[in-house]
C-alpha cells in the first residue's frame, strides 16, 4: 500500500514537472536538432537562442508586461483594501448592500461586457495603449471580497476605537494602524493580481491592436510565425516569461496558496 501511494505521488509530481523540464531543455537546442531525438538532456545552443529572442521586441514587451502587472497590482490592491476596510470596520447605511454588491459582481463573467469595454476604451483614446489591461483591475471584486474577510478577521476594532478617541484622523488610522496589520493579506493579493494579469491572454489579445503595446502572452503566441519557426528560441522566450511568476510564487508559496484557498474553505 505504501509503495502504491509513493508511486502515485511521484508519478503525479513527475507529470507536473515534465513540461517545465521539456521547456527548459528545448530552449538549449538548435531548433532543427530538437526533432532528431528526444530533447531530454541539455544541448549547447542556449546563448544563441537567447540572442535570437533579444533581437526581437522582447525587452520592450517584457517591460510592458511588468508595467501592466505592477500598475494593476497597485491599483487593484488599493481600491480593494479601501472598500474592504470600509465594509469590514465601519457601520454605515450601505454596509450590507456593498457586501452583497461585491459578492454578486464577483459572479458576473468578464466576457459579458467585453465588447462594450473595448468600445469604451477606444472612445477614451486608450485603444492602442496598455490602459485597457490595467484599468480592468481598478474594480476587482475578488480582491474586495478577500479584503473584507481578511480585515474583518485580522484588525481588532478596539485598536481603531482607541486611535479615534486619541483624535487620529481616519486616513491616519487606516494607513498608520490598520495597514501594518494587514500586510500579509496585501502581499497575497498583490501576488494574485500580478499572476493573473501577467498570464492574461484574452483581454490583451482583443483590446491591444498595436504591436508596440503587446504583452508577453500575446507577443509570444505570434512570435516567429512569419519567419522560420524557431522552436528553441520560442521555448527560451517562454521560459523567461514564466520566470517572474515562478520566483514570486516560490518566495511566498505558503501564504500564496493560503490566500488562494481561503475563500473556498470558508464558504
Amino acid at each position: 500500500m505504501k509503495v502504491v501511494k509513493w508511486i502515485f505521488i511521484a508519478l503525479v509530481t513527475a507529470v507536473s514537472l515534465f513540461p517545465f523540464y521539456v521547456m527548459i531543455m528545448m530552449s538549449t537546442y538548435y531548433s532543427e536538432n530538437i526533432f532528431k531525438g528526444l530533447p531530454l538532456s541539455p544541448s549547447d545552443y542556449l546563448t544563441e537562442n537567447l540572442m535570437t529572442v533579444f533581437k526581437t521586441d522582447f525587452i520592450r514587451v517584457y517591460a510592458n508586461s511588468l508595467t501592466v502587472s505592477f500598475a494593476a497590482g497597485i491599483l487593484g490592491v488599493l481600491t480593494s483594501t479601501l472598500i474592504g476596510y470600509a465594509v469590514a470596520k465601519f457601520n454605515f447605511k450601505l454596509k450590507s448592500f456593498l457586501n452583497y454588491f461585491i459578492i454578486i459582481t464577483m459572479m458576473v463573467p468578464a466576457q459579458v461586457g467585453l465588447i462594450g469595454y473595448i468600445i469604451e476604451m477606444r472612445h477614451m483614446g486608450f485603444g492602442n495603449t496598455l490602459m485597457p489591461v490595467i484599468l480592468i483591475w481598478s474594480a476587482w471584486s475578488f480582491g474586495a471580497f478577500f479584503m473584507v474577510q481578511y480585515i474583518r478577521d485580522t484588525v481588532p476594532t478596539e485598536i481603531l476605537e482607541c486611535a479615534r478617541i486619541d483624535g487620529a484622523s481616519e486616513p491616519r488610522i487606516l494607513f498608520g494602524i490598520a495597514m501594518p496589520l494587514i500586510k500579509p493579506g496585501i502581499a497575497t493579493l498583490s501576488t494574485l493580481v500580478f499572476l493573473w494579469s501577467w498570464n492574461n491572454y484574452l483581454l490583451p489579445l482583443v483590446t491591444i491592436n498595436n504591436a508596440k503595446s503587446f504583452t508577453l502572452p500575446v507577443f509570444i503566441s505570434t512570435l516567429g510565425i512569419v519567419h522560420r519557426t524557431d522552436y528553441g528560441a520560442r521555448m527560451a522566450a517562454l521560459a523567461m516569461a514564466t520566470l517572474p511568476v515562478l520566483i514570486i510564487f516560490l518566495l511566498g508559496s505558503r501564504t500564496f496558496i493560503k490566500g488562494i484557498t481561503a475563500g473556498a474553505v470558508k464558504g
Binding site: 501511494k5 502515485f8 505521488i9 503525479v12 509530481t13 507529470v15 507536473s16 513540461p19 521539456v22 521547456m23 530538437i34 526533432f35 531525438g37 528526444l38 488599493l78 481600491t79 479601501l82 472598500i83 476596510y85 470600509a86 465594509v87 465601519f90 454605515f92 450601505l94 459582481t105 459572479m107 458576473v108 463573467p109 466576457q111 459579458v112 461586457g113 467585453l114 465588447i115 469595454y117 468600445i119 469604451e120 480592468i136 481598478s138 484622523s169 486616513p171 501577467w198 498570464n199 491572454y201 484574452l202 509570444i220 503566441s221 510565425i225 520560442r234 517562454l238 514564466t242 511568476v245 508559496s253 496558496i257 493560503k258 488562494i260 484557498t261 481561503a262 473556498a264 474553505v265 464558504g267
Partner: protein, 318 residues
C-alpha cells in the same frame, strides 16, 4: 456626491459626539474609488453590451436596432453555437470529475505524509501559475504528429509502430484540451482539498479511532462528508470557469500555426472562442457577439444554480 455625504454626516453628528462625525463620511469615501471604477469599467460596458446586442453593428458604421433578432439568429440559425456549447460541455465532462477525484486522492495522500508535505504541495501547484501560452505550446509540441514527444515515446517503447495524428482527431483534440486543464488545475484542486482537510478538527478522527473506525471507513464517513462544501464550491466554480474556456484550446491550435481555427471539425471550438472569432477575427459583428456573450451569461447562471442544487442536494453521499 461629495457634498451629499458631507451633509449627511453633519446631520448625524447631532446624535454622535462631534469628533465621531468623520466616521460617517469616511466609509463612503473609502468605498468610492471601487464603486466609481466598477460603474465606469464594468457596469457601463456590461449595460452597453446589452444595448449593442439588440443592434446590428460592425463597429464602424451606423447601428441599426433589430430587437431580439441577434438572439433568434444565434439560437435558431447558428448550428456552430450549439456545437461550441456541446464541445465546451464535453471538455468539462472529461476534466472536472477527474480533477475532483485526483485532487482529492492526491491531497489525502500528501496530507498523511510524514514529511515533504510543503515540497509536494509547492511542486504540484506550479502548473497552475504557468502562463497558458506556455501550456498551449508545450502541449501542441508534445502531441505533434511528426515531432511530438508523446509519439516518440510510444514508438520507442514499442507500444506503437507509427505516430498518431493526435491533434487532427476531434475526440482526441477534446481529450488533450481536457488533459491540459487537468494538468493545469490539479495542483489548485489539491491545495483547496488540503486546506479543507487541515480545517477538519483532529478530535473527530480520534473519536472515530476509539470507536474502531479505520482507513477507508474513516475516509468515506468523516473526511468525504466534511469536504462536501469544498467539493460543491469546486464543481460550481469549475462549471462557471469551464464555460468560459478559451486560452487552452485557442493556444493549442492557434499557437504554432494560425491557419487552423477551431481544431479538426471545429471540435476544439469553445463558446468564448466562437465569441472572439465572430466579434474580432472573422468579422466585427459586435451586436451579434454581445448577444452571444449574454446568452452564455444566462447559461452560466442557470448551470451554476443547477450544479449547486444537484451537488449540494446529494446529501452525505457526495
Amino acid at each position: 456626491m461629495n457634498t451629499e455625504t458631507v451633509s449627511k454626516s453633519s446631520a448625524s453628528s447631532r446624535v454622535a459626539p462631534s469628533r465621531w462625525s468623520g466616521v460617517r463620511v469616511w466609509p463612503y469615501l473609502f468605498a468610492l474609488p471601487f464603486i466609481l471604477s466598477y460603474m465606469t469599467f464594468h457596469l457601463y460596458p456590461t449595460l452597453y453590451s446589452f444595448w449593442l446586442s439588440m443592434h446590428d453593428w460592425n463597429g464602424i458604421g451606423a447601428k441599426t436596432y433589430i430587437g431580439l433578432r441577434n438572439y433568434v439568429t444565434l439560437l435558431t440559425k447558428d448550428p456552430l453555437f450549439f456545437k461550441s456549447l456541446y464541445n465546451t460541455f464535453i471538455i468539462m465532462l472529461m476534466s472536472v470529475p477527474l480533477m475532483i477525484l485526483l485532487g482529492m486522492v492526491l491531497a489525502y495522500l500528501i496530507f498523511h505524509l510524514a514529511k515533504g508535505r510543503v515540497f509536494f504541495q509547492t511542486v504540484n501547484f506550479l502548473p497552475y501559475i504557468t502562463t497558458p501560452v506556455a501550456i498551449g505550446f508545450i502541449f501542441s509540441f508534445m502531441f505533434d504528429w511528426q515531432t511530438g514527444i508523446v509519439n516518440a515515446l510510444l514508438i520507442k517503447t514499442g507500444l506503437m509502430t507509427e505516430g498518431y495524428y493526435w491533434l487532427q482527431d476531434p475526440l482526441m483534440a477534446q481529450g488533450i484540451i481536457a488533459l491540459m486543464i487537468i494538468w493545469r488545475n490539479l495542483g489548485y484542486f489539491m491545495a483547496i482539498y488540503l486546506a479543507g482537510m487541515t480545517a477538519i478538527p483532529q478530535d473527530i478522527y480520534e473519536a472515530a479511532k476509539v470507536d474502531g473506525s479505520t482507513g477507508l471507513h474513516t475516509f468515506t464517513r468523516i473526511t468525504l462528508p466534511m469536504l462536501k462544501n469544498i467539493t460543491v464550491f469546486l464543481i460550481v466554480t469549475s462549471i462557471i470557469g469551464g464555460l468560459q474556456l478559451f486560452d487552452e484550446p485557442k493556444l493549442l491550435y492557434g499557437g504554432w500555426s494560425a491557419s487552423t481555427s477551431g481544431g479538426p471539425d471545429n471540435a476544439a471550438l469553445t463558446v468564448i472562442w466562437k465569441f472572439v472569432n465572430d466579434s474580432f477575427v472573422t468579422g466585427t459583428r459586435f451586436g451579434y457577439g454581445s448577444a452571444l456573450a449574454y446568452t452564455l451569461f444566462v447559461i452560466i447562471v442557470l448551470f451554476s444554480l443547477l450544479s449547486y442544487r444537484i451537488s449540494a442536494g446529494k446529501g452525505d453521499k457526495a
